[in-house]
């Protein structure tokens, strides 16, 4: 059953809206004038150096710790692409921002012996990405991270997480594999599982991994 909503009848004074707007401005102005007296300001201005503005981009914003940043691909310390094109991130990505082209049977050999494959192309549409971090969470290879150290002189404290993704058209905002790898930088992999597997296999003197013993 439909409910009939009774409309309030407005007087001419109320219908002008200008007085309502003025009331709103009064609140804003009140906050503006009282900010310097507030606790927040006192907290931020403890050392008397607080500035409410930033000379961006010369000065960069120190992002709060909870800020996630944008997803990039990382390489390991031997500059090998870590991603093995398992496409789990592509599957999990809620807005379908990731698009991976698998290598196929005769794609380029993986950078790491034993890993068998890596993506032919890997694109993230940064306009679609909602920076949720699911890709980082799902990745079984620790190959994708949301904006870790991609610049020289990485400093965890001031770590610049990427909040300034800019481009002048849509195509520019689709980051390809090279760009993602360049921005992702190096990940200091402590496990190196493929290297370990290959070394173990070789040590066992079985057929060498990575070589295909062809059927004669």
């Amino acid at each position: 059953m439909a409910i009939k909503v009774q409309r309030v009848k407005l007087s001419l004074w109320e219908r002008l809206f200008i007085p309502t707007l003025w009331n709103g401005f009064k609140v804003t102005l009140g906050h503006f004038l009282s900010f310097k007296k507030s606790k927040v300001y006192a907290e931020k201005n403890k050392d008397n150096k607080f500035k409410a503005t930033l000379s961006y981009p010369e000065e960069l914003w120190t992002v709060p710790p909870g800020f996630r940043g944008a997803p990039y691909l990382v390489s390991d310390q031997d500059a090998a692409t870590k991603c093995v094109s398992c496409q789990l991130c592509e599957f999990v990505c809620p807005p379908k921002a990731i698009r991976i082209t698998p290598p196929g049977e005769d794609g380029e050999a993986a950078h790491r012996e034993g890993a068998e494959k890596m993506p032919k192309e890997f694109e993230i549409d940064m306009l679609r990405c909602i920076f949720c971090g699911y890709c980082e969470e799902v990745c079984p290879e620790e190959a994708i991270y949301l904006a870790k150290d991609y610049y020289e002189g990485y400093d965890d404290e001031k770590m610049r997480r990427d909040y300034a993704l800019t481009g002048s058209n849509r195509e520019e905002m689709i980051f390809n594999k090279d760009k993602l790898l360049e921005r992702g930088g190096t990940h200091h992999d402590r496990i190196k599982k493929w290297e370990k597997k290959t070394a173990d296999a070789k040590a066992q003197e079985t057929f060498p991994v990575g070589e295909n013993p062809k059927a004669e």
Binding site: S85, C86, P102, E105, K197, G210, P213, K214
Partner: protein
């Protein structure tokens, strides 16, 4: 005496009472084995009757039972051994006494049986979901995973891997195995179409049994011992029979994978569409895996009336041409401005109006669907045209491959486009063109210059209407060229060599301006004959089923075809 119909009782199926998870059910005493021979029903099959799936690797309903993986272990209760009086132990109330099985030397420990190879005993109790059974499964999975590489990120089987599935469902998260895993050969080239990763193999021997018993090529075996056991081919004998890819299908893990599909796409992205193989007249049932209008693979779909669960490699890999750049994508009309489907069909309709009865010939490929042939037959009837198809013969084999390489020769015969011998009318058609009695020619899906109707003859035509999917010498001469669809791009039915009428569904969109033949043919027929047909494939099929005698005899309709199809008299 009153005229009473004598209803014959079907022979009673002998059943056995068993208890599955405390529920009393009766199951047939005998069940067909992989060859169709009746053998005693097993514990695994009884559980299936009860709606409970027992996990299994080596068991496959269409292969001999091997019983080597132990995944199907279940805890059961059995009647006791008969005493000196010849009677089994009884409960006080007079019912049979059932004891849960225990190890003979350790009576506190439950003993499991393998469900796939243990025959039912009347009164047996199967504890399919008991904690004891659960523990057995956990132990088996842990042992199978001892040397497993856990390559899931780079393994093509991931997403349809029984090891993954059972580990999630029946396994445990932790392993007690702290030692180093045994490494085995990886990425081994077993044959031209199959890749082996020996580390992932669970040694179920399905692949060995398939090759030896079904394909008849005893090509695979296990070499080495213990944890080094490895699937291998004989030295110098590659695994290259025409059925090798079936082993990749039945391999429950990612040990055997298809080279054609290797690293192409993850299976969870693939949209599955029921289809048919068009490689020969057998018409193996298939499932097409596609993503975003690209076909990635074709796998057999089980249909006991046609192909069982198998298909041949050559048919399976015969799909690359669908994505070819050479495909015909645009309508072409000589000496005419019409470019849109609507305009061209209307124009052809207009031209056909002036065609005299008996001056037309129609050559329709036996690779067209029943519906398309039926519509062409309608045109032929209207103009008293002479019709035929083109035979396509090759070699058959002992298992599935048929010597007739047309998927729908029987359709062409039943609908009346061709006679018993396909191509018998072709010389008459060539003669008719030569002598000038045939002035209009409609060709669907064939290059007739290869079949006795030369280009010079084609040049003599007043009206030459051609539909095809690839350019050839005939399409080059066409006055109207209508680009058609590959089987994966349309719906329709074929009648296979045994008379099985079966349908296939649309998986992909057609390239460019190409259109399903039945769609534009239906419009054309309506333009010409003024008959009110149906504008859906379902309606069209149902209409055909009322007009073609053998289809009528079976009261066919689209919905009743189901996934498996219906056999008609041929």
């Amino acid at each position: 005496m009153p005229d009473e119909a004598i209803i014959e009782e079907p022979p009673a199926i002998e059943t056995i009472p068993v208890k599955v998870d405390g529920r009393e059910i009766s199951v047939p005493k005998l069940t067909p084995d992989w060859q169709g021979k009746l053998v005693p029903t097993t514990v695994l099959q009884a559980c299936k009757h009860a709606g409970i799936e027992i996990p299994h690797y080596c068991y496959h309903p269409k292969l001999p039972v091997a019983g080597n993986c132990r995944m199907c272990l279940v805890h059961v209760g059995m009647p006791g051994r008969p005493g000196p009086d010849g009677k089994p132990p009884m409960n006080e109330d007079g019912s049979l006494k059932i004891d849960p099985m225990v190890l003979p030397y350790e009576r506190g420990t439950p003993k499991g049986v393998i469900g796939c190879a243990t025959n039912l005993i009347p009164g047996m109790e199967i504890y399919a979901s008991s904690p004891e059974t659960k523990e057995m499964r956990e132990a088996v999975l842990e042992s199978l995973l001892i040397n497993h590489p856990l390559d899931c990120t780079i393994c093509d089987q991931a997403g349809e891997c029984k090891l993954q599935e059972y580990s999630m469902e029946h396994g445990q998260a932790e392993s007690q195995f702290a030692e180093q895993k045994v490494h085995k050969p990886k990425a081994v080239d077993l044959g031209p179409r199959i890749m082996l990763d020996a580390e992932r193999c669970v040694l179920c021997t399905r692949c060995i049994r398939f090759s030896a018993d079904i394909a008849g090529d005893d090509a695979l075996g296990i070499v080495n011992r213990g944890s080094y056991s490895t699937i291998a081919t004989f030295p110098g004998a590659p695994f290259d029979n025409n059925y090798t890819l079936n082993t990749a299908d039945i391999c429950p893990v990612g040990a055997l994978t298809s080279k054609d599909f290797r690293f192409q796409m993850r299976v969870w992205f693939l949209k599955e569409t029921n289809s048919l193989c068009t490689g020969c007249a057998t018409g193996c049932n298939t499932v097409i895996g596609s993503r975003e209008n690209k076909m990635y693979r074709q796998e057999p779909r089980e249909n006991d009336a046609v192909n069982g669960p198998w298909m041949c490699d050559s048919g399976r890999l015969d799909y690359k041409w669908i994505a070819s750049e050479k495909r015909l994508k645009e309508i072409r009309s000589q000496n005419s401005e019409a470019r849109s489907w609507e305009a061209v069909i209307a124009e052809i309709g207009g031209k056909l109006e002036g065609v005299a009865a008996g001056s037309m010939a129609i050559i329709a490929s036996a690779r067209q669907t029943n519906e398309e042939l039926y519509l062409l037959k309608k045109l032929a009837d209207k103009f008293e045209a002479i019709t035929d198809s083109v035979p396509r013969n090759g070699e058959g084999d002992h298992l599935l491959v048929n010597a007739d390489k047309n998927p729908n020769s029987n359709g062409a015969r039943l609908i009346g486009i061709a006679g018993e011998t396909l191509g018998a009318n072709l010389p008459a058609i060539a003669e008719g063109i030569e002598s000038g009695t045939i002035k209009t020619l409609i060709v669907f899906g064939e290059d007739v210059t290869q079949h006795g109707i030369s280009e010079t003859l084609l040049e003599k035509m007043d009206l030459l209407i051609v539909s095809d999917i690839f350019p050839n010498a005939t399409t080059a001469k066409a006055h109207y060229l209508l680009p058609g669809c590959a089987y994966a791009e349309k719906r329709g039915t074929f009648t296979n060599t045994k008379g099985q009428v079966q349908k296939f569904m649309k998986a992909l969109d057609a390239p460019g301006n190409a259109r399903a033949e039945w769609e534009f043919l239906h419009e054309l027929v309506e333009n010409v004959t003024g008959q009110n047909g149906f504008s859906t494939i379902e309606g069209l099929f149902n209409q055909m089923a009322t007009e073609v005698d053998v289809f009528k005899a079976k009261e066919l309709n689209w919905a009743a075809l189901g996934d498996d199809g219906v056999t008609v008299e041929i």
